[in-house]
Symmetry: C2
Subunit: 536 residues, 2 copies
């Protein structure tokens, strides 16, 4: 999460699952994981092969002037067919991925993006912008048949930091820059974007902007929205270029219309981003709670204090057990503080004290604390390792025919406890009914605010055999109903994509839908940009 991981360039990305192929669990690991979840398969589904997909010739050919930007290579097309949600992996494993795009384009500059959009508009070709491909909400695939062909517009050939303003701590960065490369290019300047979503290694600046990504940090500067000075967005109606400003009150923010537009209004090509000094002081601790609701009150008190923890993750007992942070039925609050300027031990001590005043137990000795929770670094380290490895383990479970997925939301404090209880109860019951086996529904808080929190749920359940994606859709529909009933957002930082459209359509105010549809009509009159996302 600090961007310093060594990345041999010879590693291969998986076309069907998360991340690097060499980091995937092997068959034996899959079997071992599956054994922990009753009702899963006895042996793993085979790793799917591209040649089994029988990918045909593309429905269109690019004009000679664009041919050098475009490929029809089947492997490339297969790798751009979907994101990395559970249902994407499950579909790939069953040999039924989403529609394979006809072509993949990799423009090297803004001119190339504009030319490709012009060509696509002239020929009714759907354009699906693609950054790192880590969408977990169906954001990078095409569903439907209203277009003549589908072009996956991969931005990763635009992966450079173009300018750095060290005095004003900002950089002009191309949208296709992947997280590690972005930090590598900033490091010589002593600066960092300090934006570390869980997908960091496999996602791009443009993807973060288009989806309003949330970073790793629990409070303060963590949403990508707040780091934007200005953006350039290529639309079929021209290029939107906002001024580089620290703040402005001149009408509704132009950038805020494109932040979260998920490729439906234009293609983000670059942005001036606010940077920070690299933190030099860090401290962390884990506090155990026997009462999850008391822990929620502790977190609220912390969020409403001036302490501003960089990390303030509350793991419920199931999540704590899963990550190795605690095995005794306790909830664990993982606290972290960071500063570029001054030691943070004092703030950590005050935060721990505040947590203790709400019933938390902390033993700073490094040994397991009195309540059985490993103290301090042990729990923090366990949680952190599990966090980074989680998406790979998920894919191993999926190979065992299991449901293994997450979803997240946010709500005001008055609704948080009831919401979490209801998701656990109702999604758990639905999974039991659908599969005949008890399911695991865990929760952690990933981001906290003075006025609410973002609960993040993990669902682990047996599959039903053969059509895991449909089973998940049923369970997710139950979850969406609970969220809606509690007025909890359909997504806090995973974006809407296609998977969340039903919930989004119910949450989005109708006049805003009218405005957004009108804006889309003005900017994308031929309806080629990421069709199916946000508005029709």
């Amino acid at each position: 999460m600090d961007g310093t991981t060594a990345r041999p360039t010879t590693r291969a990305r998986s076309w069907w699952g998360w991340g690097w192929t060499d980091a995937h669990p092997d068959d034996a690991e899959c079997v071992a994981m599956g054994a922990l979840l009753p009702g899963t398969l006895g042996r793993p589904l085979p790793v799917p092969r591209i040649r089994d997909l029988a990918i045909g010739a593309p429905a269109v050919e690019p004009p000679p002037s664009l041919a050098h930007l475009v490929t029809a290579d089947p492997a490339d097309r297969a790798a751009h067919a979907m994101g990395k949600a559970y249902r994407d992996v499950a579909r790939a494993l069953r040999g039924k991925p989403g529609r394979i795009p006809d072509l993949v384009a990799r423009p090297a500059d803004e001119r190339g993006v504009a030319d490709l959009l012009d060509w696509a508009g002239d020929h009714r070709i759907a354009v699906v912008p693609y950054g790192g491909g880590s969408s977990v909400s169906g954001g990078v695939e095409y569903r439907g048949d209203a277009h003549r062909a589908v072009l996956s517009l991969d931005l990763t050939a635009m992966g450079r930091v173009l300018e750095v303003d060290t005095e004003g701590r900002a950089a002009r960065i191309q949208a296709g820059t992947l997280g590690p490369s972005l930090e590598d290019q900033l490091r010589p300047h002593g600066l960092t974007l300090r934006h570390f979503p869980q997908s960091f290694e496999f996602s791009t600046l443009g993807g973060w902007l288009a989806t309003r990504a949330g970073g790793h940090y629990a409070t303060g500067r963590t949403h990508i929205d707040d780091f934007v000075q200005s953006m350039r967005v290529v639309t079929p109606a021209g290029t939107n270029s906002s001024w580089r400003l620290p703040a402005s009150g001149a009408g509704p923010s132009p950038d805020r219309l494109f932040l979260g537009s998920e490729g439906a209004l234009g293609v983000i090509t670059e942005a001036w981003m606010r940077l920070q000094e690299r933190p030099r002081h860090k401290a962390s601790a884990a506090v155990a709670f026997t009462d999850f609701h008391a822990a929620l009150r502790a977190v609220r008190a912390l969020a409403q204090s001036d302490l501003a923890p960089a990390n303030c993750r509350l793991l419920d007992p199931g999540e704590a057990a899963l990550s190795g942070a605690a095995q005794d039925g306790c909830s664990v609050l993982v606290l972290g503080f960071e500063s570029a300027h001054e030691p943070v031990a004092d703030r950590l001590a005050r935060a721990v004290e505040l947590a203790r005043s709400h019933g938390g137990r902390y033993d700073g000795s490094g040994a397991p604390g009195p309540g059985g929770a490993p103290a301090g670094d042990a729990a923090v380290g366990a949680w952190r390792s599990a966090f980074l490895r989680m998406p790979y383990l998920r894919d191993g479970l999926v190979r065992m025919g299991a449901i293994a997925e997450t979803f997240e939301t946010a709500a005001t404090w008055d609704r948080v406890p009831g919401l979490i209880d209801a998701v656990r109860t109702e999604v758990g019951a639905a999974a039991l009914e659908a599969t005949g086996h008890p399911a695991t529904v865990n929760c952690r808080l990933t981001h906290v605010y003075p006025d609410g929190a973002a609960p993040y749920f993990t669902v682990l359940a047996a599959g039903r055999g053969g059509d895991e994606a449909a089973l998940w859709d049923d369970l997710k529909a139950v979850a969406v109903e609970v969220l809606h009933r509690h007025r909890a957002t359909i997504t806090h930082h995973h974006a809407v994509g296609r998977d969340h459209r039903p919930g989004y359509d119910r949450q989005r105010p109708e006049p805003f839908a009218l405005a957004l549809r009108a804006a889309k009509g003005a900017l994308d009159p031929r309806g080629i940009l990421n069709p199916g996302v946000l508005v029709d």
Copy 2:
């Protein structure tokens, strides 16, 4: 600025000038002020009288069902004809105010707002939403002749705090609530919105939201945008009601489209706003600098530190002299810290030390410091008194035929020094050429960011006799050219209104203009909402 000022209900608001009539400088004071500015009149222009305006009968009459919400009283209509910009006051003093609205409506609830919009739409009546009427950018007047009549929609009958969530620190507040009343209603709960624009006493929550107001505080939570949990906005196409959420990543933010929409997309009727605990610890200090550019560097260092001063106002020598903070040609940095939780003396001391390391001089003894600047509380108090009295003194100067106006902007740090120098030089030269007398062009920084600052300019100049508004328009056009050349925003927190349209139209990216125009067409298809603002 802390909302505790006693407000006798018998005081009368001025229809043509700032604030309370009993706070206006008398003729002798006007003459004394005028004497300081060569080229002004020998005696003040008379206070204008409503009866001299010869206000005619309204062009329309409301239907019986709405008659109880509407008045055609000439005094009421005159008071709703304009905001309180210099050019508004100057026009009123010359007996040429903006177009007098035909009617003033004061709906008591959202239903009333919707009914009035329906009626106005059916009869081609322009609707100008009106909160406290403190616009300084032509935001609350009608210019043009495309409508059959003009209705000023005064929201102040909707002035209640409807619900308070003390656990989640938020309140549901009606849009027409004026600043002092808002704080009065929150005080029993121990909470505060802590949003104190200079217009606080004469502006409303709805006005702040519609114009993206900036509060008094220099860093951190100061923009009204960041306090919004959810909003209700009545549009001709229906009521936009967003969910109450601490954060959401579900598409572009609906609220951000209406924040800054200046009444052109809908009428904001209420909002759930994030609140804070009332600060209990405060400390302030003033640091003097002989070199303004060194002071700029000090402010940048402070803005990029973790110290987060509540106040970090840099007054240039002219501004320091005008406010009484220093009389020796020094620049003065006014620093303030606040916290609800812990003493702030240490943070203040570190901030002062940082300022000193950039050449600042500070003598904490309470006597004038070695550089001649009054130290600590004296300078802070002088500046604060001047700040609150400033709009009244402006009106006194206007009665002496003077130009007395402010404008503000924001830019990244690399542009700030050159921008300030260019505004001083070029606006000063233009004023000299136009009036034959030297003008005063002062600057202070009102808000500071890690990546830039918001310079705020005061222009004091002789008039030209008879048409001060036109003279100011010429000077402002010079200023706007300088801002544009330096890519500094046309407004940081004064809004666009009608006065800033030319600059705004050049700054706003063209694709965003297309989107905004389309959104306006969808929400206000008959074009009745605040015509002339933002888009045509």
